[in-house]
Amino acid sequence: MSENTDTFSVAGREFSSRLLVGTGKYKDMEETRAAIEASGAQIVTIAVRRTNMGQNSDEPNILDVLPPDKYTILPNTAGCYDQKTAVRTCKLARELLDGHNLVKLEVLGDEKTLFPDVMATLKAAEELIKDGFDVMVYTNDDPIIARELEDMGCAAVMPLAAPIGSGLGIRNPLNIRTIVENAKVPILVDAGVGTASDAAVAMELGCDGVLMNTAIAAAQKPVLMASAMKKAIQAGREAYLAGRMQAKRFASASSPLEGLFF
């Protein structure tokens, strides 16, 4: 299967890479750049924060390292615990990206788990969609809420696999599969992936893509892990399209039993 024909699209934009990456937690800008290059990602998330008052203006900005004409920038609302701050963050992001209206909405409910506040997420999504945003939304692995977010008009629904930054892998593959089977918009696993096999499993379940940050940035060798993730996403996608064999309890010989000479 060629990469070019197996594209996925979100909010009318077409992508060949199904790996979306965050840009936080790297050692420095050069490591950020190298890891994202190695991942092959076309969509990268950024956060919106106060300008550092005493900052050195020579210091490169993340958008100099990852220019918006080369990457699709996906501003997030990380750190927002209510509807209002999430919406304010999205409006600021749209302004600083010259009207670019694709956002990753996350409204958190709890500092320990970083699980979403689903009720506030639904309200914020509704307000943002009304205001013209294309919303990719972080949510629980709950098929009912995923369906609600899709019906409301979200551009993509992004259930967590495990808590953000935990690296625990896909804790509830059956729910992820159900969400995928119900959906007409792209479903991306967002958060909780720890290593390449986790990413492959997400893709084998039929997800359209995976968004990750810590799994790459917190690896001993982030650039090498970025490359591993790129391959895992491709391998998992191809395995999903190929359709796996049925698992059986007992053996089934691979060599013919006919023509045995003994």
Partner: protein, 66 residues
């Protein structure tokens, strides 16, 4: 008069505009966005936007994040 600039009490001249603040912070030519009292102020309005005593100005940029 005093304004709140990114959370810090900051003295400014009475006729200060948002455009003046942006220049003071050496932000011209970089990517940033501005809120006053929790409302976005588009870039095209910065020059004519006169600040008032106690205004809460937030200037933000993109940083690495997941």
């Amino acid at each position: 008069m005093n304004i709140q600039l990114n959370g810090e009490t900051t003295p400014v001249d009475d006729s200060t505009t948002l455009g003046d603040i942006v220049r003071r912070m050496n932000l011209e030519g970089s990517r940033y966005a501005v809120e006053v009292n929790e409302e976005l102020v588009p870039r095209s309005e910065h020059e004519g936007y006169r600040l008032k005593e106690g205004d809460n100005v937030e200037i933000v940029q993109a940083i690495g994040g997941g």
